[in-house]
């Protein structure tokens, strides 16, 4: 049943999507084709598909580690942004712009920045019992505004015609694409490694076992003496590290520079990816590919059929909605309850 729910949700999303297109005056079938099939019918489309799936899967893997222990990091967008900022900072200002160490250093910087950004809510939660949902979300806005400050102010490219963006990263600070015609680059291998690590951690390691106990039965975790604060720290730091690396890979990959808008919402979409993937490493790969397709399809129909770009978000939302609803109906059933017939019963009693 837990595997059926995502399938049911996908089917319902397609049905609802068709109705939605019809209501906008577009023939549903060709539109669905343009949305879901056309993007994958070219080599460039496939390259873009994997390119966009990669950060989603990477971040979702990190988040799922925490979600399994009921640690709700919903600020991956902010950790992604801080990772991109730190990595770009290293790329832009490292004394030797041709050093072969540049890319690994940027990777470390991105990871460290994402972890540092997640460490703040982890500290607050484990020491002061604050709600990590609120704190991680608020920290996202701080990160976004910090990025905006940097690209409008100190890091703005002096030769950039006053556009709010940094200079381009040096070549040694960029992942080189597999083929100059397409944007897909070796950073997808980082994601592949992350998926394997996540599987090993959650499915095989004792630490992952402890985290799943914390999530499934907090009292049992306390009974066995597993530290709750350890689950909070590991959960948040894993999400932060993954999001930070994803931010680095985005800056050092398709972007090549920082601007006020560096993410199409990867950090938030990854939450949906993690849930649709049932917090399981391989499930996340599938749901990441699906979510990436929604991004691509949304862009596609925006260009070819002039449908609004908000469509992508609508589809993401519908999908999550149907998934949660499907889960709900797996565990509960609806029963109509009639109001108690007090007066009638009382009469019979007398």
């Amino acid at each position: 049943m837990r595997i059926a729910a995502p399938v049911v949700a996908c089917v319902l999303t397609l049905i609802f999507g068709s109705l939605f297109f019809a209501s906008l005056g577009h023939d549903p079938l060709p539109t669905l084709y343009a949305f879901f099939v056309e993007p994958l019918s070219s080599l460039n489309g496939l390259s873009e598909w994997l390119l966009k799936a990669s950060p989603l899967i990477l971040i979702a893997c990190g988040l799922a580690v925490g979600f399994r222990a009921n640690v709700w990091n919903i600020g991956a967008e902010g950790q992604f942004t801080m990772g991109a900022i730190a990595a770009s900072g290293v790329g832009l200002f490292w004394p030797n712009p041709e050093s072969a160490l540049l890319l690994p250093l940027m990777l470390l910087a991105g990871m460290a920045a994402g972890m540092a950004w997640a460490a703040i809510p982890a500290f607050l939660r484990s020491r002061m019992n604050t709600n990590e949902i609120l704190v991680t979300l608020m920290m996202t806005y701080i990160a976004t505004l910090f990025l905006s400050y940097l690209v409008h102010g100190p890091w703005r490219d002096p030769a950039g015609f006053n556009y709010p963006q940094t200079a381009l990263l040096p070549a040694a600070a960029m992942f080189q694409s597999f083929d100059p015609a397409y944007r897909l680059n070796p950073s997808i291998f980082i994601t592949a490694v992350a998926v394997l690590l996540m599987w090993l951690f959650t499915d095989r390691s004792f630490l992952g076992y402890k985290m799943s106990v914390s999530g499934a039965a907090p009292l049992a975790a306390r009974y066995a003496g597993f530290r709750e604060s350890a689950a909070v720290w590991i959960g948040l730091l894993a999400g932060g590290a993954a999001a930070g690396i994803a931010g680095m890979a985005e800056a050092a990959g398709p972007l090549g520079q920082l601007s006020p808008q560096i993410s199409p919402g990867y950090g938030f979409a990854a939450i949906i990816v993690a849930f649709i993937g049932r917090l399981n490493a391989f499930g996340i790969v599938l749901s990441g590919l699906l979510m990436s397709l929604l991004f691509l399809g949304g862009e596609g129909v925006q260009m070819t059929l002039a449908l609004p770009s908000a469509l992508t978000r609508i589809f993401q939302g519908i999908l999550l909605f149907f998934l949660l609803a499907a889960d709900f109906f797996i565990f509960y059933r609806i029963r109509l309850v009639r109001p108690a017939k007090d007066a009638h019963a009382l009469e019979t009693a007398r």
């Binding site: 630490l207 076992y209 106990v213 009974y223 003496g225 019963a345 009382l346």
Partner: protein, 513 residues
Amino acid sequence: MHPRLELRNISKRYPGVLANDDVSLAIQPGEIHAVLGENGAGKSTLMKIIYGAAQADSGEIYCDGNLITAHNPAMSRALGIEMVYQHFALFESVSVVENIALSASSAFNLPSLAEKIRELSLRYGMPIDPYRQVHDLSVGERQRVEIVRCLLQAPKLLILDEPTSVLTPQAVAKLFDTLRQLAAEGCSIVYISHKLDEVQELCDTATVLRNGKVTGIARPKETTSLELARMMVGSKLPEMHVSPAAPSEKPVLEVRKLSAKARDHFGVDLSDVSFNVHGGEIVGLAGVSGNGQAELIALLSGERRHAQADAIKIDGISAATLRPDERRQLGLAFVPEERLGRGAVPSHTLWENAVLTAHRFGTVRKGLVDRRRAAAFAANIIDRFKVKANGPGATAQSLSGGNLQKFIVGREIALAPKLLLVSQPTWGVDVGASAFIRQTIIDLSRAGTAVFIVSEELDELFEICDRLLVICQGRVSPPLVRTSTDREEIGLLMTGRTMGKDQMGSSSVALQD
């Protein structure tokens, strides 16, 4: 004149237990009627049946001489039966009047309702400001809100479930005045309690329950506490013969002057608890639930830690500041009262649940869970303790309570502990499995393990313990040797009365208000 409420031959069976067995009782108008009994005697089930929250399997309920058919809580309210639960159901974030309006079936009119609340609460000597927020109220005041909520319905029969368990002596005195005034006005009151002194002070009649059966009907004011206690706890003699204990020279568990504040309103403060458990003996803790057992066991297991390290020593090492896993390294094993969610993770398989506490026994290697060994470990427990389960891959929640308990007891015993803590070893476990679990615990102790058991079942404690302690209101009595004490003595200590030497302090010590 008809009795206000009459029960005839009520029986109610739950799977594995006959909760009420042919119970009859009659409550007259204006009478304060006590229902007295130990935990698990069937009091709550009986009250649920009266209130209509549960249906009797057989028997009849009459209200003012009319047979009630198709009983339910809405019906009760229509008949004028109201119930004040032991744990309050109030919304903390809104005011008193809003709370009461939420539960009223009629349309809201807050100002007039507030006026009624003020008037009624003053009339019964328990003033409440209807506009105060519930989170500002003390426990005693919250109870007043619950009582006023019932009184607004002008009840003919009011049921109170252990109403004084969270009150100070002053609040108890005020509550009793209110109840007497209500009774004088003709309202019948059913007063559920296990505290003999209160029942003797307040009630006209007492129906005593034990193991679901009525064991006596008494006029408490004319009956001695000893007689009441005997009716309550019975006087059957221990049945099982246990080979004599050979206690180790040094104690394995030492508790010295352990005091701790309760963590919430419904908890109990522990004060100055001291006792020892030696290797090779079983020490039992008797007492009515909610007298500090949960607090004590959490402190012993390490789920709750204590600042003063030497208040608890395990095998001679100060342990009060250690976490549960650190205490387990000293040789502790622990079977908690709640199996699902505390002793085992419901959605996890049995082999995963074996890893929960057996991770030092080869099931985890180099940071990775060794699934094969964990499964073998679980299979061994299933086999040795005759757990009815679909193999090590069955989830904990798929097992019956008794089987899961056997699995958890088996897991903890397989850890070869020096000290075993067990809380309610046989709650909800059928007779055969109970005997098996008890025998296993005895065998373990005779092999040299120190065992500390918390149970509310006196029969069980008498059957297997070498020494008995009694907890009442967070205080623990000096140890009694099982062979030289009896149920009456324990029963009185449980209800806060003492026979002979006064070791327990005054009866019914106040809790926080």
